[in-house]
Amino acid sequence: MGSDKHEKIVLLKDRFARYLITAGGVTVILSVAAIMLFIFIEMVPLFYAPEAAISSQWAAGQRLSPVAGMAVGADEYRETAFRLNETGAVDFLSLKTGEALKSIPNPALAGKKITAASRAVKSNWIAFGTADGMAGSTEVRFAADFSGAARTITQSVRNGEQLYQADPARRPVRIIAGALGEDGGIRIAAVKDDGGLVLLTAGESGDSNIAPASAGGARITALAMKSTGRQLIAGAADGMVYVFDIENGQPRTAENFKASAAGITALRFLNGDETLVIGDEKGDVAGWFSVRHIIAKNGGAKKMTLDRAHGIVLKPGEEREVIDRNYAGQRGADPDVSFAPAGMRYLKVRGFASHGAAVTAIAPSPRNKGFVTAAADGLTYHYITTGKSYPVAPQQDGKPLVAFAPKSDGIIALAGDGVLYDYALTAYHPDVTFNTLFSKVWYEGYPGPAHVWQSTGGTDEFEPKFSLWPLIFGTLKGTLYAMLFSVPIALLGALYLSQLAPVRLRNIVKPVIELMAAIPSVVVGFLAGLWLSPLMDRHLMAFFMVLFSLPAAWFVFVAIMWAVPWHKRPDISGHYELLYLLPVLAAGLGLGVALAPAVEAGLFGGDIKGWLYQAFTLAYDPRNCVVVGFALGFAVIPIIFTIAEDALTAVPPSLTSASFALAASRWQTAIHVVLPAASPGIFAAIMLGLGRAVGETMIVLMATGNTPIMDWSIFNGMRAMSAAIAVEMPEAPVGGSLYRILFLVGFILFIFTFAINTLAGLISNRLRRKYSRF
C-alpha cells in the first residue's frame, strides 16, 4: 500500500513539474511575441498614408455675406474659420454650427476694395492690396480661454498702422506678397495693374520706402516672399522666375531661371523658407532648393576629373560652375584647380503629381514641410521630403482660397461658389516613407541626395532626416571592427589553450577570460571612452608602433630559435613557450613605445594625425573605431573564446591520433582535423559574438562620438542602432515620427540578431551533421 501511495506522489510531482515547465515556456514565448507585437504596433503607423476627409462644409456666401473672400484661416482648435472679404472686413464662422459669429470691418478701408491678399505661413497676418493702388496689412487673432467650463475662443483683428501707396497712379494692385519682420516692420511686394513690380518697406515707426524691381519687362503672374523678408521671387507668364535679394529694401536681382515651359501661376516658400514651390499653368508642381555653387577652374595642363560620380570633367583651362560639393575641401592640396564662389542657385529638386489644370494657390503647412495646392480639378496635399502627393478633395468650384489650420491638422478652403470647406487632415508621419528611410533623399540645404540621419532640430522649420542607413552602417562598422579585433585573438587563444597550453595554465586562463564577460559593459564603455580614447589620442604613434613591434619581436624570436641548432636551443616545447615569449613581447611593447616619438618626428613631421590628414585626408577623431574595436572586442572575446575553446577541446582524441598516425604534423592536424571537427562550435561562437556586438549598446554609446556618418575610416566614429535608440529616446515625443522610427530601428536590430542567430543555428546544424558523428 505504501508503495502505491509513493507512486501516486511521484506521479503528482511529475505532473506538477510538467505543468510548471510548460507554463514557464509558454510565458516566455508569449512575452516575446507580445514585445514583438508592441514594437510592431508602435512602428506600423509610420507607413500610413496621409488622409484628408471633409469634416464640415458651409455655404459661407449665404451665411456671411455674398461678397468675395480674399484670404481664409482657422483657429488652433478648428472651431472658427475666418474670411477676409473684399471690403476689408474679417468674417468669422463657427465650424461646428456654421453660424456667422461676427464681422469686424477695417475702418481704414471704408469705401475701398481689396484686389489681392496673401497670408503668412505661421500666423494669420495678411498683406493686401486695394483697387486704388494702396497696400496694407491686417492680422487675425484668436485667444483661447480655459477658465470657464468649456473652452471659449475670442476673435479679434489687429489692423496695420496705415496704408501705403503702392501705385501713385492709384490703379488696382494685382498680386501681392508680404512678410512681417521680427522688428514689426513690414515688406510688401506688389504687382501693379501695369505689370510693374514694386517693393514697399515700412519700419515700425511708419517711415516707408518704395522701390521698383525690374523683371526685364516680363509679365509677372505670381509672387512669393520669404517669411524673413529677405528674398522676393517673381514668376512670369513665360515660365521665368526672378529672384531678388531685398534685405536692405532695395531689390537686387540675384538670379533668373526658367522654371517651366508654361506660365508660372503660383509661388510659395514652405515653412522654413528653404523650399520654393512653383506651380504652373499646366498644373505641374515642383519643389526648388537654393544650392550653393562654385566656379571650378582647371589651371593645369591635363584633363581633370573633379567628380566621377557626377561626371564633372574639366578640360585644361576650363572654368565651370558646379554645385558646391565640398570640392575645395577635398582638393585642398591640388594646385591645379582653383575655386571661386558663385553664390546660390535654385535647382529643381522634386516634381510632384500634376494637376489637370493651372495651379491657382499654394498653402504651406505651418508645422512641417507639407503643402496644399489648389487647381480647378481639386486640392492636393504634398510633402516635400517624400515627394509624395495625396488628393484631398476633387473638383472645387472655381479658384479656391486655401490655408492650413495652425496645427496642420486641417485644411480650410473657400471655393469660388462661396462654400467653405473644413478638411480634417490625418498626416501623422507625412515625412516618412519606405524611401525616405532607405533611399538617398535630397534634403533642404544639401548639395545632393544623401543618406542622412539628423532626427531633431530646434524648430519645426527643421527638416528631419531619417535615413536609417547611417545607423545600420554604424552598427555594421562597429561590429566589423570589433570582430576584426576579437575573432583572431579569441580563436587563436582558444586554439592555443585547447591544443598546446599546459593543463595548469588552462585552468587559470579559462576562468579569468570567462570572468571578463561578467564586467558590466558600462564599465568597459566608460574605460574606453574616458581612458583609452584620450590615451590613444595622446600616444597614437605609440599605438601604431606597437602594432608592428609586437609581431616583429615575435618573428625575431622565432627566427633566432630557428637559427640556433636545435640541440643548443633551450627546450621550450614542454609548454614553456609562454615563459620565453612574455619577456619578448614585453620588449616589443617597450621598444614600440620608446621609439614612437623618434619615428613620428622622423617620418611624419612630428604629427602623425596631421600627416594622415595630409596624405589620405583621414581626419582623426579621438572616439574612433579603434577604441570601439578594442572595447567591443573586449565584450565579445570571452563569448567567442569560451565557446570555441569548448568546441576545440571536445574534438575526440581518436581523431587527432588518427591524423598523427597518418603522418600529419601537429599543425596539419589542427587545421585539417581539429578545426573542421570543431567548426560547428567555432561558427556558433563567432555568431554569438556577432550577435553580442550587434546588440551591444553601452560600449558603442560611450566609446564613439555617436556621429551618424557613413565612412569606413577606422579613425572616426559612428552611431550604432542601439546607441541611437538609447540617445534619442528621451528626445522623441511619444507618437511622433522619431519615436516610431526608433521602434523601427529596434525592430531592425531584432531582425539583425534574429537573422544572425537563425543563420548560426542553421549553418551550425549543417556543420554538426557533417562533422560530429564520431
Binding site: W566, S654, L655, A658, A661, L662, A663, P676, F774
Partner: protein, 264 residues
C-alpha cells in the same frame, strides 16, 4: 637475461623491427614495459597476445612513436626499423609514421567523405593530383576489400558506413600512405564475427606485401592469421615464437596457462 629468445635469429635483412632492451614508463616512474628484446620479421604477421594491461598497446605505440603525444613518458632502450634508430635525434615523426602505419581498436574515420578519408595521408604530404589520388584511393580500397561496397559512394560521408566497413576504411586509409609496416591494435575487437573474418582475410592478403603487427585478445585469431606470436605478461615479453609452437608447445608456464584459459 631471463627471457628466452626462442625465435631463430635470421639475417638482419629479414628483420623489420629490432627492439633492444626497451623499458617504458608512464608518469615518469610508472613502468609499463620491462626490458623488451624482440625481432619482428619482414612480411610476416606477428601477433601480440597477453592479458589486458600487460603493455601490448604501449609497445605497439613505441613503433610509430605515438607515445610521444602522451605527457610525462620516458623510454629506455632502442628500436631499430630497417636498421636505423627511430628515436635518434633528427628523425622526422611524419616520415616515420608514413612508413609505420597504424590501425586503432575503435574505427576512427574522419568526418569527411570516403574519398577524403583515404586521400588524407597523401594529401598531407602534398599530393594534389586528382587522378593520382583517385588511383591511390581505388588501390587502397581494393586492398582492404572495400572497393566493391563503396565505389559508388566515394563522395558520401565515411560516418555512414557500418562498423566493419569503417574499420576496413581505416585499414585502407593506412594503406594509402604506402607503409612498410602496419600496426593493428585489436582491430576486430569491436566487430561482429563476419566483419572480423573479413579483416582476417584482408590481413592474409596484405602480408604478401607488408609487415604486420597485430595486437589481439582473440587467441583463435592469433592462431589463425599470425606467423609469429609474442606473449606478454605484466609488461614483460615472456615468450615469442612461431605461432604453431606457441599454441602447441609453449615453453613458459604462464603462456600455457593463458592459452588454456586459466587466466586472462
Amino acid at each position: 637475461m631471463d627471457i628466452p629468445m626462442t625465435a631463430p635469429m635470421d639475417a638482419a635483412g629479414d628483420v623489420a623491427v629490432h627492439v633492444r632492451k626497451l623499458s617504458f614508463y608512464y608518469n615518469q616512474s610508472q613502468q609499463a614495459l620491462y626490458d623488451i628484446n624482440m625481432d619482428i620479421r619482414r612480411q610476416k604477421v606477428t601477433a601480440f597476445i597477453g592479458p589486458s594491461g600487460c603493455g601490448k598497446s604501449t609497445l605497439l605505440r613505441c613503433f610509430n612513436r605515438m607515445n610521444d603525444v602522451i605527457l610525462n613518458t620516458r623510454m629506455e632502450g632502442d628500436i631499430l626499423i630497417n636498421g636505423s634508430d627511430i628515436y635518434k635525434e633528427g628523425v622526422r615523426l611524419e616520415a616515420l609514421r608514413k612508413r609505420v602505419g597504424m590501425v586503432f581498436q575503435r574505427s576512427n574515420p574522419f568526418p569527411m567523405s570516403i574519398f577524403d578519408n583515404i586521400a588524407f595521408g597523401p594529401r598531407m604530404r602534398g599530393m594534389k593530383d586528382k587522378a593520382v589520388l583517385g588511383e591511390i584511393v581505388e588501390r587502397s580500397l581494393k586492398q582492404a576489400d572495400l572497393w566493391k561496397e563503396v565505389k559508388d559512394r566515394l563522395g558520401k560521408s565515411a560516418l555512414d558506413l557500418s562498423g566493419g566497413q569503417q574499420q576496413r576504411l581505416c585499414i585502407a586509409r593506412t594503406l594509402a600512405n604506402d607503409p612498410e609496416i602496419i600496426l593493428m591494435d585489436e582491430p576486430a575487437s569491436a566487430l561482429d564475427p563476419i566483419s572480423t573474418a573479413k579483416i582476417e582475410e584482408t590481413i592474409q592478403v596484405l602480408k604478401e606485401q607488408y609487415t604486420i603487427v597485430i595486437v589481439t585478445h582473440n587467441l583463435q585469431q592469433a592462431a589463425r592469421c599470425s606467423d609469429y606470436t609474442a606473449f606478454f605478461y605484466m609488461g614483460k615479453l615472456l615468450e615469442m615464437n612461431v605461432t604453431g609452437r606457441i599454441f602447441q608447445k609453449p615453453s613458459v608456464k604462464d603462456t600455457e596457462d593463458y592459452i588454456t584459459g586459466k587466466f586472462g
